[in-house]
Subunit: 223 residues, 2 copies
């Protein structure tokens, strides 16, 4: 089952002040010119499929790596490795989120020397990951159409903390009651500055725009 | 926005040993002949829609009430109230789960006098709610088809703790890669005794069987 994938069991953070530790990690990323993107969502919203589509779209534009965080299994890192994307699997030891020190453990194991863009695929969870600054430069959340347009009402902090909301699975819009105007209104109520993109990781719709957004953000950070 | 819905802000538990406290609550439920069912899932898997369909199917068979737990908003309890189901909204104060004492606070506010079946709709989250015994008699989890068949691999404790796995949104099976054999194999790997039912809360498929399962469990408990 577990192919040639590196699995890291991260340890619980020893730092009391995660916010300060996250600032330290961001400073280190700045110095090393690594753009770290923290990707959060519910389980099953399509994080891994989106990253696979992005890896194709970003080829030749930016060197991308992925850290897959899960409580158990290595299915996501295996998919990445099969697609030729440099990746590691982080196991959180049952924890529902990653903090800055856990992220650092992953980054050191991954190796930051020649990375330009590293995506941290956080544990599938709309609550806890939003409460902990991982040290990432930008935060992005995926909401898939089948989950419904009311999620920003129920999970406010996630939308408050994110720079980008990506609505995924637009290919199944005809089969679900999902109101684009409503989701935009609810998300902006939590965070007026949030940017919103629509994609279908399955068909590739909107992946080009998402790739452009990431390249633009990474360029600004690494300048 | 917030119609005629009772909203309870529960307080963090003062009990150190949640497992013991959950046992105490279960004993009280037994004495009062109330069947408490803890319903867990990812955000957007269809918990509320399933409960609305169940309310119709259970009418005249058992007196059902619902406690909706969310971090914010009252959209779920409002939907229940509109459908004529006795319900309250529990706000967790940012917490990602409910423990036994928080559940007790909800139950006392709801009133257990003439209740036969109370469903606790837990916070949408596959991680934390599985870690805390709420005092419920049975635990049930919903996995919706769009989330994918690999969830039991990634969120093992949820499937270990649940008596029943309900696979929802079977009406969209043609549009997603979802393997029934795989999900059954993965779920039973975590918990050989787990029962599995397939439903579409939208079309009503399988709701009768689910209603029968609940009535049967409630009857055994209240005997």
């Amino acid at each position: 089952m577990e192919k040639d994938v590196r699995i890291i069991e991260v340890k619980r953070s020893i730092f009391e002040n995660n916010d300060k530790d996250a600032e330290r990690l961001r400073a280190e990323l700045k110095e090393k010119r690594v753009f770290l993107l923290n990707l959060m969502s519910s389980p099953g919203s399509g994080k891994t499929t989106t990253l696979l589509a992005l890896a194709r779209a970003l080829e030749g534009r930016i060197k991308m790596g992925v850290m897959e965080a899960d409580i158990d299994s290595a299915v996501d890192a295996e998919k990445m490795a099969e697609a030729g994307v440099k990746s590691i699997q982080i196991h959180t030891g049952g924890m529902c989120h990653l903090d800055a020190d856990m992220t650092r453990q992953g980054l050191y194991e991954f190796g930051m020397e020649d990375a330009e863009l590293i995506v941290l695929e956080n544990v599938g969870n709309l609550v806890c990951p939003a409460e902990f600054d991982t040290g990432a430069v930008k935060n992005m959340t995926i909401l898939s159409v089948p989950e419904g347009d009311d999620k920003p009402l129920k999970y406010p902090l996630m939308y408050e903390k994110c720079d980008l909301l990506v609505v995924n699975k637009t290919d199944v819009l005809p089969y679900f009651d999902f109101d684009r105007k409503k989701v935009e209104e609810y998300a902006k109520r939590r965070n007026p500055d949030i940017e919103i993109l629509y994609i279908s990781a399955k068909t590739g719709e909107g992946i080009g725009e998402l790739a452009d957004w990431i390249v633009e953000q990474a360029r600004a950070w690494r300048a």
